[in-house]
């Protein structure tokens, strides 16, 4: 049995192409190129080589018993996408699309980024393959993820801060689309998640499917079977689709996506599309959108820049409506508590995005109970979030100076650890 229900460019009723006519030719070109490439042994061999020699795949599977002790019974395994080169799962898709860009004869790539992980991955691949690179990033995000802005610039990319709208990820995508429609002849839009017009949702999923394929085999080697639940955080939804895909046809495996609950659904300050969003169209796809009664996009909130997005990949909309996957919001506080717990029990600092999946696993653990197995996609590492986390937990003062144990006030010269 297949549960994919993908017909052409649609996942059930979701997906499609809601784009200016000017982009249709480029989307057709891309669709033809990626279909041909995915059937070309040379292309796949080159991508495999880069995964192995450059990214460091396969990424490990790590059992985390001291963390699991807080989850009410299950054994918990982390798929360590945080250990990939550039620090997150984003590199999987980026290497695939960058190879495609070269194959199509494009000399420039552009990208949007929220937390900066996709921008860093794109800047990295552009440096590796000799492509020009421009990354659009909401101005709010450039401020809360300054370290990643510096990383992109070190890698030779131009970073453009987008001040319009809410100055976050959605506005970065608007600006990238405007760039693309103007320069589509020589530029590839290296979209970083499983939304946008066809073929992006399908193509990006296929480039991330390696996550679930590896994890399924690694887990089987250890426990001799399938997990009972697979957990992932969901912004646009690329890491979630990447790990879900290998388990989609297994009815015994519960798929759980955790969205940004922000300050709580009841406050309205969140980014949980399945808790208040309605079907609509944004950024080229028919999917769930957080919108007002007039169809205007609502502003979102999350402690995590990477989940702070009003829309979601159309395949997730289909999985949600068909009941094939479950989705639930996780608040900022729950995510940060789980962040702290993983740091202190396992010596792993997760990305705040990924901490939403950790918090979700802690929540569903007691229902699954003793002897069950939970697989979590640890989609990124938390180096980029140290500043945010240090402020959240009161480890630094407002100027970013560390409080040093044994002193009464904010630390002096020996501080500054943020």
């Amino acid at each position: 049995m297949t549960t994919t229900q993908q017909v052409g460019d649609r996942f059930g009723e979701f997906g499609g192409r809601y784009v200016p006519e000017a982009l249709v030719a480029a989307l057709d070109e891309l669709d033809a190129a990626r279909t041909e490439a995915m059937a070309d042994p040379d292309f796949l061999a080159e991508l495999d080589r880069l995964h192995r020699d450059y990214t460091g795949r396969p990424s490990p599977l790590t059992e985390v018993p001291r963390f699991a002790a807080h989850a009410g019974g299950p054994r918990i395994f982390l798929k360590r996408e945080d250990l990939n080169h550039t620090g997150s799962h984003k590199i999987n898709n980026v290497l695939g699309q960058a190879l495609l860009a070269v194959r199509m004869g494009k000399r420039r790539v552009i990208a949007e980024t929220g937390a900066g992980q996709h921008g860093v991955a794109t800047a990295t691949a552009a440096a590796l393959m000799g492509l020009e690179c421009t990354v659009y990033m909401g101005q709010v995000d450039t401020e809360r993820q300054a370290l990643n802005v510096a990383r992109m610039r070190l890698l030779g990319a131009e970073v453009v801060a987008v001040p319009t709208g809410s100055a976050t990820l959605k506005d970065a995508i608007n600006e990238a689309m405007r760039d693309w429609v103007t320069h589509v002849g020589h530029t590839h839009y290296l979209l970083g998640t499983v939304t946008g017009p066809h073929p992006f949702p399908t193509m990006v999923r296929d480039f991330h499917a390696v996550i679930g394929q590896e994890a399924r085999k690694q887990l089987d080697d250890v426990v001799g079977g399938l997990p009972d639940a697979v957990c992932a955080c969901v912004g646009g939804g690329s890491n979630a689709i990447g790990i879900f895909h290998a388990f989609r046809d297994e009815p015994s495996v519960a798929l759980w996506g955790f969205e940004a609950g922000g300050d709580g659904i009841e406050t309205g300050r969140h980014a949980a599309r399945f808790s208040g969003g309605e079907p609509g169209v944004l950024h080229g796809a028919s999917t769930y959108v957080l919108q007002d009664a007039d169809g205007q996009t609502l502003e979102t909130h999350s402690v995590s820049a990477g989940l702070d997005y009003p829309s979601i990949g159309p395949e997730h909309a289909f999985l949600h409506d068909s009941g094939l996957a479950h989705y639930a919001p996780v608040t900022d506080r729950e995510a940060m508590d789980a962040f702290s717990l993983l740091c202190r029990t396992e010596g792993i600092i997760p990305a705040i995005e990924s901490a939403h999946a950790l918090a979700g696993a802690l929540r569903i653990g007691p229902e699954l109970g003793e002897g069950s197995v939970v697989l979590i996609n640890l989609s990124g590492r938390g180096d980029k979030d140290v500043d945010t986390a240090a402020r959240w937990f009161g480890l630094v003062d407002d100027e970013g100076q560390a409080h040093v144990d044994g002193e009464t006030g904010p630390g002096g010269d020996q501080g500054g650890g943020a």
Partner: protein, 261 residues
């Protein structure tokens, strides 16, 4: 014959192109917007494109994008677009609405079509809805005699030029350059070439947009197109210190331009 057909036939008989002027509804606020629409009609716009302000206008450059934000901050609600459409019609112009797709979807495609027809609107231009995705809208439009107007672009293949123009009624929006809305120094030679390619597959009137801001440019485009679309330049005039006066002055210059070709 629809009102758009009549209009373009009339222009053809007069040996001139039509002037199509764009303004966002509710910019800078609803009452000024109504005044601006009347000014635009009175100063010579034949067709008025009433824009729906939207939070994520990814086909628009900074001028229109900022105007949309201003209108939304001033309290624009989607139903206000029908008030503006009615005002354009009362002022003697042919109103069409230009909107991104999500607001229509949220309002309800049939309900939007009905309210647009009731307000006197002649059609709908959809910058992010291609005919491939427009089944429900095309049916709703047909039922009420509204014109679906889709865009063609320099990157459109001949096959797509044919299928897209077949789905259009009233006129075809020829997006003359690759890029977003905004004033440009020169209207590219791409525009004339695209008009030629489009003429080869349709008898519908062809209106050229993206970049026109002066009477001279309007005259140049009128030399090969049935209609000249002006947006950002009008929005910029309305947003300047002399607001309605500058809008009138520019519209008169453009109206003279389309008669000069």
């Amino acid at each position: 014959m629809s009102v758009l057909d009549d209009l373009f036939t009339g222009c053809r008989e007069e040996g001139r192109s039509a002037l199509v002027g764009y303004l966002p509804a509710g910019y800078p606020d609803l009452s000024t917007s109504l005044e601006a629409i009347r000014t635009l009609a009175d100063a010579g716009a034949d067709v008025i494109e009433v824009g729906v302000p939207y939070t994520d206008p990814l086909m628009d450059g900074p001028v229109v994008e900022r105007a949309a934000s201003t209108a939304l901050r001033s309290g624009f609600r989607l139903k206000d677009v029908f008030t503006v459409v009615a005002a354009a019609k009362d002022a003697g112009a042919v109103p069409v609405v230009m909107t991104y797709w999500n607001p229509v979807l949220r309002y309800g495609v049939d309900r939007f079509a009905q309210d647009l027809a009731d307000a006197g609107g002649a059609g709908l231009i959809t910058p992010d809805l291609i005919p491939d995705e427009a089944g429900a809208w095309r049916a709703a439009a047909e039922e009420r005699g509204l014109a679906p107007v889709f865009l063609v672009a320099p990157s459109s293949t001949d096959v797509r030029l044919r299928s897209t123009t077949q789905a259009c009624r009233g006129f075809v929006y020829v997006a003359s350059t690759m890029g977003v809305t905004g004033v440009r120094e020169a209207v590219g030679s791409d525009a004339e070439h695209l008009v030629e390619r489009t003429r080869a597959v349709t008898d519908l009137p062809l209106c050229v947009g993206l970049g026109v801001s002066t009477g001279d440019q309007a005259a140049q485009v009128a030399g090969f197109a049935d209609g000249v679309i002006v947006g950002s330049a009008l929005v910029r005039a309305l947003g300047g210190p002399d607001g309605l006066g500058a809008l009138r002055h520019l519209t008169e210059e453009l109206a003279a331009g389309v008669r000069r070709a």
